[in-house]
Amino acid sequence: MSSVASGGGVRPSRRAVVLTTGLLVIFLLYSLAPTWFLIVSATKDQTDLYSTFGLWFSSNHLGDNLQDIWTYHDGVFVRWLGNSVLYSTLGAAGSTLISLAAGYGLSKFGFRGRGALFAVIVGASLLPSTLLAFPLYLVFSEIGITNTIWSVLIPYFINPFGVYLGKVYADSSVPTELMEAARIDGAGELRIFYAVALRLMSTGGITIFMLEFINIWNNFFLPLFMLNGERTFPVTLGLYSWLQQAQTARDMNTLVLTGSLLSIVPLAIFMFTLQKYWRSGILMGSLK
């Protein structure tokens, strides 16, 4: 793969190799150092956090910090983690199914206004959801569903970019001939969708699920607008509320740091096991 090596015997000079490697290593350190700091800090107690060098370990208090996190406020942190898992899983699953169905409808059926509808969807996917947060809050508070799980889940379900991806996947992976054959065999449209099309679009489905899962796990502003009871917070909002308390009440910095580290773990595991899907999803998104 190396363009240098394949360049017909042109070998990079020693200086070029040193320079390239040096620059890459510098940016590698830059990328990894803050996370390293987080890992180190999660093992420290309050005094060591302020009095010892931040990029290296001192006496290990990770166990105490974890104990603190599990027990603080009746284990509210565990609940936040659970909420994040719940919101991400349900939200991503719902939005994947809705997006695949819509993308399939858009791709495989000719109807008037299809082009315009597609344009609206692409346009909407350019509109950042941050902008909608406040108008959504107004409507949801009017009908009285703010501070419920639905106030965050319903917006998560509707993902124009997912529909765009769904259409692309339906275009490329569901042959119209196969649908015709199934129709001749007497299958209904719904049956064709879930027995044939969904199976063929499964790679696309996993990609949409992944991207949406990550988005929801990382989301901060929608829950911030919609939720005001601690029990319904996702972990991002919970950590923010701890940081706010840390300014006024007791010093909760060890909790914030350890909690931050813990909140990455499920997401990191999830992403590294399925990375080829979300990577292809981002790339596809960039090509629209």
């Binding site: 793969m1 363009s3 240098v4 090596a5 394949s6 017909g8 042109v10 990079p12 390239t20 890459l24 940016f27 590698l28 830059y30 990328s31 803050p34 700091f37 800090s41 009095s51 060098f53 931040g54 809705i98 819509a102 409808g105 495989k108 059926f109 000719g110 109807f111 299809r114 509808l117 350019l126 509109l127 950042p128 941050t130 902008l131 406040f134 108008p135 959504l136 107004l138 409507v139 009017e142 379900f157 509707i158 124009p160 529909v163 042959p175 796990w217 990382n218 901060f220 911030l224 607008f225 950590l239 923010y240 940081l243 706010q244 300014q247 914030v256 931050s260 997401l267 981002i282 960039s286």
Partner: protein, 317 residues
């Protein structure tokens, strides 16, 4: 491609089926819409209705009596809120500040991402895989968590960066004046490098290798090939990533809001337009004005996206 050739073949089989696409189209009309129904209903509920409702709300004003303890009346004032927003210099200042800051920060971020992608384009395959995975780690970390991490690194107490600076004999502060922007810019750049590098890398890999052969035979060096051949051929992706980044910068919210926790005197409540909207809505309680601001921000974003979309589409085709 196969879907394009297939109907023609069917048509030659039996001329009577020639009308079938139209029939299928009409039949497909409601079936296609039926599959879209959940999305369309949801879209109506989470895009169309909220925007319409926000618009109708923004036509009213809350008139308080005295200290606000008495009954407040909501009165129709037409476009008065919009007029106020359009004339609100603080609102436009926060928008201008955010866009200017974004333009500088995005240039730096994309510059570094491009440099890294070009460097990796010339390195052996195994190392590439390792570096790509490692450089992507910041992207894996939720924005709230990466903000918290950097917040502790910027914090006056216990920051290893300050320790290092002190040992080097200098004193640094991360907030106040230009430093506030540098700190915020560093955080956003740190988050965005890996992701943008992946996109740029992908379009570099898509370039045909023959492009370089002639230059190489002429004795061009690698950096010369990178600058004169590789970069001009991937401007499309650079413009596109730049556009998405700038649109998302206009919505900048969580990072400065969290940083405000330790630097309230450097980051005001109207530091970015979204922060201003949040403050107006939930601290001041003026929903009507916040709704008008949201819509103005949405229109500005829409115009920006449209301009970019047209520009890039022309460039790509």
């Amino acid at each position: 491609m196969s879907t394009l050739t297939r109907p023609a073949k069917v048509a030659t089989d039996s001329p009577a089926r020639r009308t079938s696409p139209r029939r299928a189209g009409r039949r497909g009309a409601y079936k296609g819409l039926l599959f879209m129904l959940p999305f369309l209903l949801g879209f109506l509920a989470t895009y169309v209705v909220p925007i319409g409702y926000a618009f109708s709300q923004s036509l009213y004003e809350k008139k308080g009596t005295g200290l606000g303890f008495g009954p407040t009346r909501v009165v129709y004032t037409g476009f008065a809120n919009f007029a106020s927003v359009l004339g609100d210099s603080a609102f436009w200042a926060s928008m201008g500040r955010t866009l200017l800051f974004g333009a500088v920060q995005i240039t730096v971020m994309l510059g570094i991402a491009l440099l890294l992608a070009l460097l990796l384009d010339g390195v052996a395959a195994r190392a590439v895989r390792f570096f790509r995975a490692a450089l992507l780690i910041p992207y894996v970390i939720p924005a709230v968590v990466s903000t918290l991490m950097w917040l502790f690194l910027y914090s006056p107490t216990g920051s290893p960066l300050l320790d290092i600076a002190e040992r080097a004999g200098t004193q640094i502060t991360f907030f106040g004046g230009l430093n506030t922007y540098l700190s915020l810019g560093n955080l956003l750049t740190w988050q965005g490098i890996g992701f943008n590098m992946i996109l740029i890398s992908a379009s570099l890999q898509a370039l045909p290798r023959e492009l370089y052969e002639a230059a190489r035979l002429d004795g061009a060096r690698e950096w010369r090939i990178a600058w004169s051949i590789k970069v001009p051929n991937i401007t499309g992706i650079l413009v596109l990533t730049g556009m998405f980044s700038l649109i998302s910068r206009l919505q900048l919210f969580g990072e400065p809001l969290i940083m405000r926790q330790i630097a309230p005197e450097s980051i005001n409540t109207d530091f970015t337009p979204m922060m201003e909207i949040y403050d107006k809505a939930f601290k001041v309680g003026d929903y009507q004005y916040a709704a008008a601001e949201s819509l103005v921000l949405a229109v500005v974003t829409g115009i920006l996206a449209f301009v970019f979309y047209r520009a890039t589409n022309r460039k790509m085709s």
